[in-house]
């Protein structure tokens, strides 16, 4: 490739680094100050945990950090050696490997490491692996592991399903109150729900700036910028941050500032990020004048159903509406809308070896959507964290060839 284009960070990113840094510091200093820590799956009932005064830690965020820092490939074998298969979630295996070795990206921030849990709270809306992951630590520390078993492959979000999940969330209150040493304050829960809702509205607006041509933000920016939406939702810091970022992006749109210089093609990224290759892939797409404008992944932290007036049922609805736990026909309808909204030229499916639930190319979806939308597709084989499952040269050539193919299409002359 002849030239390499590096992008400047958004101005707002400095603020993000500060609030994320403070979050990690609070997590590690919390226990000494008498704060209880709840581990929570990234699309788990974070609002409930915050309302009960817990510091909320999200191990999937740590998994992503292990991937992005490329520590994961050295850590995964440690978990494999203890019986966790190389074929299961590499967030799980890299995180457990990190625990076993006592090495974490936290130490690069001069922090001791992830906080020990007082309770682990899962939601299986994403997969069973999150529960298995949490149960390891529950056994290790002899602490409770409780959670919500969400049905999967959901079509319509029928009342009985919402009722069931809402009942399960309510069922968490009593054991959590006991661990927290305090009663749930409904007003506090409502206030946190409202902050989560505001965060969602703003995060969605941030992502939707990519519907502009040229886009001011790409999927690769989104994977970094989503941090507060994942770990700080329900807190005012996240709301303030996305107001700042949104204003900057709106200014970029007004000024015609492009995330990808001379943007020619627009891609939808389906599936997990390849955390250890974000920079390389971002640079490759930059050089190909291609913007990855939308993704399932970054949009998975939009919870428009959250409603402070009906906290449990709305939380149930929000966490059941997730793309990952929906049926293929629902997923396809969603992608169809996204392709139209973001003016997408082609769809890239990341077949993430250890994340079958987030790899949507395996049951003929690419072929069905291509037939319906007349948008070409590409499948890239890799993994979210385990770079041993990623062939750099194969991926690079496939992506380059895909953009050549888009250029050959009549619409592009």
């Amino acid at each position: 490739m002849a030239t390499t284009t590096e992008r400047k960070d958004f101005e707002a990113t400095k603020k993000m680094k500060a609030i994320m840094g403070q979050y990690f510091t609070d997590l590690t200093t919390g226990p000494a100050q008498g704060k209880k820590t709840a581990w929570c799956t990234s699309v788990g009932p974070a609002e409930l945990l915050r309302a009960l005064g817990f510091n909320v830690y999200f191990p999937e965020n740590h998994g992503a950090m292990l991937g992005a820092t490329r520590m994961a490939p050295d850590l995964i074998p440690l978990a494999n050696a203890r019986g966790f298969s190389p074929d299961i979630c590499s967030y799980l295996t890299s995180d457990i490997g990190s625990y076993l070795k006592g090495e974490s990206p936290f130490q690069k921030m001069k922090l001791s490491g992830p906080p020990k849990a007082d309770v682990l709270v899962f939601n299986t809306n994403q997969c069973r692996d999150v529960k298995d992951w949490f149960q390891f630590y529950a056994r290790e520390w002899n602490v409770p592991c409780i959670g919500i078993h969400t049905p999967r492959s959901l079509g319509e979000l029928d009342e009985p399903i919402i009722e069931d999940v809402a009942t399960q969330i309510k069922g968490l209150i009593a054991p959590l109150e006991q661990i927290a040493g305090q009663k749930l304050d409904p007003e506090k829960l409502r206030a946190i729900m409202e902050l989560s809702r505001q965060c969602t509205v703003l995060w969605k607006a941030v992502l939707e700036t990519a519907a502009n041509r040229p886009t001011p933000i790409t999927f690769f920016d989104g994977t970094i910028q989503m941090g507060p939406a994942v770990v700080l939702r329900g807190l005012p810091e996240a709301v303030d941050y996305y107001k700042l970022l949104l204003a900057e992006l709106q200014q970029c749109v007004a000024n015609g500032v492009a995330a990808v210089a001379d943007e020619k093609y627009r891609i939808y990224w389906e599936g997990m990020p390849i955390w250890g290759k974000l920079r390389d892939l971002s640079t490759q797409f930059q050089n190909l004048k291609t913007a990855v404008v939308a993704s399932t992944y970054c949009n998975s932290w939009i919870f428009e159903d959250l409603d402070p007036a009906d906290p449990f049922r709305s939380m149930a609805r929000a966490y059941c509406r997730l793309f990952i736990c929906r049926s293929d026909d629902r997923k396809e309808k969603y992608m169809e809308e996204m392709v139209a909204k973001y003016k997408v030229d082609g769809i890239l499916y990341h077949d993430s070896k250890t994340c079958p639930n987030n790899s949507n190319n395996r049951y003929q979806m690419p072929q069905r959507l291509e037939q319906k939308l007349h948008k070409p597709y590409l499948v890239v084989h890799g993994d979210l964290n385990d770079l041993r499952l990623y062939s750099e040269e194969q991926a690079r050539t496939n992506i380059e060839a895909f953009i050549e193919q888009l250029a050959e299409r009549p619409a592009h002359g």
Partner: protein, 264 residues
């Protein structure tokens, strides 16, 4: 007369083609890619120029492709091997086609519409099953020269199945077959069939079934087996091993037509 050069630096071999302004091949060369791609490119260029009795200054544009496409200092353009194989095959076969290219390290299935535009493509996944490397490994295990494989497979009278996806495990399977008294030619044909199965699972043919690449250039019987598997005859264009380099040379020629720098 203007001349154009295309070079395809693959995992095993580097292929170079020089064409004239009518798209006719005037010289070609081939060498091992080795570890120094720039050196391999230089050697191929010198060999082809000598064969064509041309000087370097006679070349108007040169395009490179293949894994080593970024390592050719004198390249004016670097389309992927997917694009170049399609372009090269389309020059000879002006029909809607499914092109199967089997190289040393990867296999590709490329679909072109009736205008020669790519509609879809697929490469093998991360492993070397269904590629030339697989057959090389089998030859090594059977202590056979690679060039003997085609004739042996053709003379086989029995199907021996190699079931493993994995090249290394397939080699282990071969040892078991030898112990079971299977004939070498039947095992070789089993290896060919294994490649065919890996190709067949990549997708369905649409239009003419075309094959290119070094593996089919040296093992025409494989094309016969692929044809049997898909239930339609296989068309092999001229110089199938050089088709990527030829396509790159055609792209170099297209550069003039599409308003690029004119040749001096």
């Amino acid at each position: 007369m203007h001349y154009f050069c295309g070079i395809d630096i693959g995992a095993a071999t580097a292929k170079l083609v020089i064409i004239d302004e009518h798209g006719q091949t005037v010289a070609k060369s081939i060498s091992r890619s080795g570890v120094d791609y720039a050196k391999a490119a230089e050697k191929n260029l010198a060999d082809a120029l000598a064969a064509a009795k041309l000087n370097r200054t006679d070349l108007c544009h040169s395009f490179s492709t293949g894994y080593g496409r970024d390592n050719v200092p004198w390249s004016d353009g670097r389309p992927t091997e997917i694009a170049c194989h399609g372009r090269g095959a389309w020059h000879h076969i002006r029909r809607k086609m499914t092109l199967i290219d089997i190289g040393a390290q990867d296999s590709k299935m490329i679909h072109l519409d009736d205008q020669g535009r790519r509609t879809n493509f697929k490469m093998n996944r991360k492993c070397a099953a269904g590629t030339g490397s697989f057959l090389e490994e089998i030859a090594l295990r059977l202590a056979l020269p690679v060039e003997d494989l085609n004739e042996l497979a053709e003379n086989s009278g029995k199907d021996v199945t190699l079931g493993s996806f994995c090249t290394v495990f397939a080699a282990t399977e071969i040892l078991a077959k030898i112990r079971a008294g299977e004939k070498v030619e039947d095992i070789v044909k089993g290896a060919f069939r294994s490649v065919v199965k890996r190709i067949a699972e990549m997708g369905l043919p649409d239009g003419a079934l075309v094959m290119t690449g070094g593996v089919v250039a040296h093992n025409p019987y494989l094309a016969t087996l692929i044809g049997e598997s898909f239930g339609q005859p296989v068309v092999v264009p001229p110089d199938p091993q050089h088709i990527g380099a030829f396509g790159a040379a055609l792209f170099a020629m297209d550069k003039i037509k599409s308003g690029g720098k004119p040749c001096s």
